[in-house]
């Protein structure tokens, strides 16, 4: 239809430039149109008569449009278009040969077979009739093939951008007139970069794309993402945030399983939500002993699911063999102290060191490394304090510490990145005067400026919505059961008013006074501050969770272990190595990073840092480069030669002195991304063609490409002029305008 009305195909219009062939200047056209409109207006106004103003304007508009049309045709509009010279140009045909092209989502034929059929049904012959044709298979690299039978759709990777780049590079020495890409658009490099598109445009080579595969799956569930921490402590409870979407299974049940290789760590049934909507589910599991975990999130296949390869996503978790040390200063012997110590004594990943003021001038130390450690009480130097990963204060007044010690505690959170916790007590928090210290700034609440905040008020514990999701307060995997379990815990005998939670703080639990004893008070509050984190547990009464429940009940132990682990899991060491992605799916360049601090946790910008990399037949030691924008940070982009596991040890030195070292792992895995997003990425293919003055075709329309491909400014081409004044659309417009005026006049009874 388009070609019938406009005389030429869309491609001609896309490729061509609009011109007027009449030698008269174009401004005369506009002047003529204006003059004609003005003259017609004057005549219609003069004639006037019984016509209303509206009718007069309508008649004037129609007659002026007709005059403009006639003048437009007189100026001889035309298209100036480049066409490829027959038999002198090369057309590159790029066929996607990745494994996603093996998908049979439209009938019994695979996408690869449908692409082959499009070519053998005449398109290839049409191209060969006019041009030299080179056929390539496109996967992780571009390779020329002699016959379509060389396609096997088994390559684990598609790199569309680099493939196009390679053809463009060939165009420097070859007359490449156009490119034809047959693909589903599934690309593992994230699309075609702007640089490649700019280069194609510079060479003026149109890229025509033919898209294969359904644009939306009919029956499929796909995991979009799995969020997990890259590092954790042994036997930690982790939450995997699994994001997925589905088509065709709304309302049905599915099972998410978390596995470590083939060992099932956790399983959870979920009800599938709306069609195509992203759904987020949290699955809790235990990280297990120290070592590298390959954690897989897996959704059991559903009936007649079209693609099973996107039901599994792997993430790498380094379970560090370290034992963070927490220093707990308690101002008075009390049950919370005893039972908190007992709760974590079997936790092999927490080293709880305690200083207890048993009498006004007597300290009792437990968990110290030597007889001399902490013999003078709470650390007085930054080095001694920062050797710990976490700090906890019980019922101890702020005046017990010197101003310098208080400042060090604040810096412990802000600069060192440690975890800080306060427990409620008669000499704790506001009753201990902490609101008037530098430490108040890092606390998660603004403490009341008064005494008497510690009350012997019996209360039950209620989790907030944030608490239901928090790993600190997860005693049960199921959030509802967890809420109930907290409600059923024995009462706490006291609670402390901690004031108002600060912006950014999370209230995880509230104390609800029994027998209508007042309003609920924030009980467990957490907040991130600076590089570290802080928390308040505003009671000294959780020990009854241990004493008033069966000895086999682990509520109290679990709570304290999770609470203390939260405090220290992310506390950095002097040297911390990392990579943004510990599992590189279809990527080869690992971005390695090391953060180096000195003994006082100031950035060690003058350090010399090297990375020792071992894995897959490689043993290399490479110097890391200081990041000028971030003192104390060192980076290295390192190419992993092949897929597999790599161990990186970063070692930082200042002169002969070693500041520290850290080890972490990453994995390069190829062919993973090909299993995801296997719907046709039409947006990518359309963008590629439109940016390069090519066209996007569905397979059914692909034969038209045989004609359209002629119009190109690339290769060896000649410029032709195509008249437009005789387009049928113009004559039709002429007749339409006259017909409308006639019909209107008949209606008005003026003819």
């Amino acid at each position: 239809m388009f070609e019938f009305l406009f005389k030429y195909s869309r491609t001609v219009f896309n490729q061509g430039n609009f011109v007027f062939l009449n030698s008269w200047p174009v401004w005369m056209l506009w002047a003529g149109i204006a003059a004609a409109a003005a003259g017609l207006g004057f005549l219609i106004w003069r004639k006037g008569g019984a016509a209303t103003p509206v009718r007069s304007v309508l008649v004037w508009l129609l007659q002026a449009a007709l005059a403009a049309l006639l003048l437009f045709m007189i100026w001889r509009p035309a298209l100036s278009v480049s066409t490829l010279k027959p038999q002198q140009n090369i057309v590159a045909v790029l066929v996607d040969d990745s494994s996603s092209m093996a998908t049979k989502d439209e009938g019994d034929a695979a996408r690869k077979d449908r692409a082959t059929k499009v070519l053998t049904d005449g398109l290839l012959q049409k191209l060969k009739d006019k041009f030299q044709v080179r056929v390539y298979r496109m996967s992780d690299h571009l390779a020329r093939i002699e016959g379509l039978d060389q396609l096997n759709a088994q390559s684990p990777v598609t790199h569309i951008g680099p493939s196009l780049k390679q053809v463009v590079a060939d165009a420097a020495s070859l007359p490449i007139g156009a490119m034809v890409v047959l693909s589903d658009g599934a690309d593992n490099t994230g699309g075609v970069d702007l640089e490649t598109i700019a280069e194609i445009r510079r060479q003026r080579i149109p890229v025509h794309t033919i898209g294969f595969g359904r644009e939306q799956m009919q029956r499929d569930i796909e995991i979009s993402n799995v969020e997990l921490p890259q590092r954790t402590l042994p036997e930690s409870r982790l939450s995997a945030l699994v994001t997925f979407h589905q088509h065709g299974f709304t309302g049905q049940k599915a099972k998410i399983t978390i596995r470590d290789n083939n060992k099932v760590l956790a399983a959870q049934d979920v009800t599938l939500k709306a069609e195509g909507a992203e759904q987020l589910e949290t699955v809790l599991f235990n990280a297990g002993p120290a070592g590298v975990r390959m954690i897989q999130a897996f959704i059991d296949p559903l009936p007649n699911e079209e693609n099973l390869r996107n039901n599994i996503v792997t993430r790498m978790v380094n379970v560090d063999k370290r034992k963070p040390r927490i220093l707990y200063l308690e101002g008075e012997p009390r049950w919370e102290f005893k039972f908190a110590r007992r709760a974590v004594e079997d936790d092999q990943s927490i080293d709880l060191v305690t200083i207890l003021r048993t009498a006004p001038n007597k300290l009792y130390r437990q968990g110290v490394k030597s007889a001399d450690e902490l013999k003078n009480g709470f650390p007085t130097t930054v080095e001694e304090l920062f050797a710990f990963d976490g700090l906890m204060f019980g019922s101890v007044d702020a005046a017990y510490l010197t101003p310098q010690q208080l400042q060090n505690v604040k810096d412990f959170v802000d600069r060192r990145g440690g975890g800080l916790a306060f427990l409620g007590g008669k000499d704790a928090l506001a009753d201990g005067g902490w609101q008037a210290t530098p430490v108040a700034e890092v606390m998660p609440t603004t403490l009341p400026d008064k005494k008497g905040t510690f009350q012997w008020t019996p209360a039950n514990v209620r989790l907030t919505p944030q608490g239901s999701e928090s790993l600190i307060t997860r005693l049960e995997d199921d959030p509802k059961k967890n809420d109930k379990r907290f409600e059923d815990l024995p009462y706490i005998r006291n609670v402390q008013d901690v004031g108002t939670p600060k912006l950014g703080a999370l209230v995880l639990a509230e104390a609800v006074p029994m027998n209508g004893g007042g309003k609920a008070l924030p009980l467990l509050i957490t907040m991130n501050y600076g590089r570290g984190r802080s928390a308040i547990f505003a009671t000294s009464g959780s020990w009854r969770w241990q004493m008033l429940q069966d000895k086999s009940d682990m509520s109290h132990e679990m709570f304290y272990r999770q609470f203390l682990r939260w405090m220290v899991t992310d506390t950095p060491a002097h040297v911390t190595g990392s990579t943004p992605r510990s599992l590189m799916a279809d990527e080869s360049v690992a971005q390695l990073r090391a953060t180096v601090k000195d003994k006082t946790f100031m950035p060690a910008a003058d350090a010399v840092v090297e990375a020792r990399i071992i894995g897959e037949g490689v043993t290399e030691t490479v110097a890391m480069t200081p990041d000028q924008g971030e003192p104390g940070t060192f980076t290295l982009d390192w190419t992993a030669p092949k897929q597999g596991d790599y161990l990186v040890e970063v070692i930082a030195k200042r002169g002969d002195q070693e500041l520290g070292r850290d080890a972490f792992t990453f994995r390069r895995e190829d062919g993973t991304a090909e299993n995801f997003h296997i719907e046709q990425n039409r947006a990518l293919l359309e963008k590629l063609s439109s940016e390069t003055k090519g066209n996007y075709y569905k397979p059914a329309d692909a034969q038209q490409l045989g004609e359209d491909i002629t119009y190109s400014e690339g290769g060896i081409s000649v410029r032709e002029t195509r008249d437009l004044w005789d387009m049928p659309i113009l004559f039709l417009a002429f007749l339409m305008i006259r017909a409308v005026e006639w019909l209107l006049r008949r209606k008005w009874g003026t003819i």
């Binding site: 101002g331 008075e332 012997p333 009390r334 049950w335 102290f337 005893k338 039972f339 110590r341 007992r342 004594e345 305690t354 207890l356 003021r357 048993t358 009498a359 006004p360 007597k362 009792y364 437990q366 008669k426 012997w456 019996p458 024995p490 009462y491 005998r493 006291n494 029994m514 027998n515 000294s540 020990w543 009854r544 241990q546 004493m547 008033l548 429940q549 069966d550 000895k551």
Partner: protein, 265 residues
């Protein structure tokens, strides 16, 4: 108090008790000593010394001399003063009599003191509850029983809770004797009766002080046994000039050490 107000008070007390998982309110029983209640008897504090009301032939109410209420409440009040004076522990001014009656009350008091256990009787259910109490984190100190026969009676009862565990003699070097103060275990803390006869022991068949203990699976002392001694008398009479200062001091030191040990292990 008018009858209506009294009924209301009882209802409120009972309902609070029920809500607090059967933590019984303070109650004072008739004892050996007639001393007034401290003014702050009803002010809550962190640490409370609980006195075990064990059952004897006369039942649990057989308080007074020879029963669970021996040296009660004077001994308790004086030991409380001692703990207040010598430590940072926040102590309630009155003791808490409690019993192994199958209710949850005893679990609210993790430090338990029992006297005259050479006369006690523990049946299977009581033994089970005592074991559960100690396994959850409780601590039991027993005192004021003498000679071989009373040891046999005590052992018969404690075996209801610990059928197979060792009862060991604690050495002078054990940390429990050095928590706040060093204690000389050679000092035998005598009762009033023994001192009246110019002795430090009550039964000639076993005249020596025995500091013994039972440990849990992690090696913590959970039952501290003071045999052939009477710390209760020492606390009770520690303010009286006729009672030997060395014994009174040692008794207080033992108590603060045991309490501190319990609060830290």
């Amino acid at each position: 108090m008018r009858p209506r107000s009294a009924i209301l008070a009882v209802i409120l007390t009972l309902s609070l008790w029920g809500v607090l998982l059967a933590q019984k309110p303070f109650k004072e029983y008739p004892g050996e000593d007639r001393i007034p209640l401290p003014k702050d008897w009803n002010v809550p504090h962190e640490w409370v010394t609980a006195r075990l009301m064990w059952r004897s032939y006369g039942g649990r109410m057989a308080f007074g001399f020879g029963g669970w209420g021996t040296d009660y409440p004077g001994g308790d009040r004086n030991l409380i003063e001692g703990v207040r004076r010598l430590t940072s522990i926040d102590v309630r001014s009155v003791e808490q009599p409690t019993e192994l009656d199958g209710s949850d009350d005893i679990y609210n008091w993790p430090f338990l003191y029992a006297v005259e256990v050479g006369r006690w009787q523990l049946d299977e259910e009581e033994g089970k509850q005592l074991r559960e109490y100690l396994d959850r984190g409780g601590f039991l100190m027993v005192d004021d029983f003498h000679g071989r026969y009373q040891w046999q009676v005590f052992e018969e009862g404690i075996r209801m809770a610990f059928p197979n565990e060792d009862i060991e003699d604690l050495p002078q070097t054990d940390p429990i004797f050095h928590m706040l103060s060093d204690v000389d275990l050679k000092i035998q803390i005598a009762g009033e009766a023994a001192l009246a006869y110019g002795r430090t022991y009550e039964q000639a068949d076993d005249p020596y002080p025995r500091w013994r203990g039972i440990r849990d699976k992690k090696g913590r002392i959970v039952v501290a046994i003071c045999h052939n001694m009477d710390l209760g008398d020492a606390w009770e009479h520690s303010n009286e000039p006729w009672y030997p200062e060395e014994m009174a001091t040692t008794a207080h030191r033992i108590l603060v050490n045991y309490a501190s040990y319990d609060l830290t292990h």
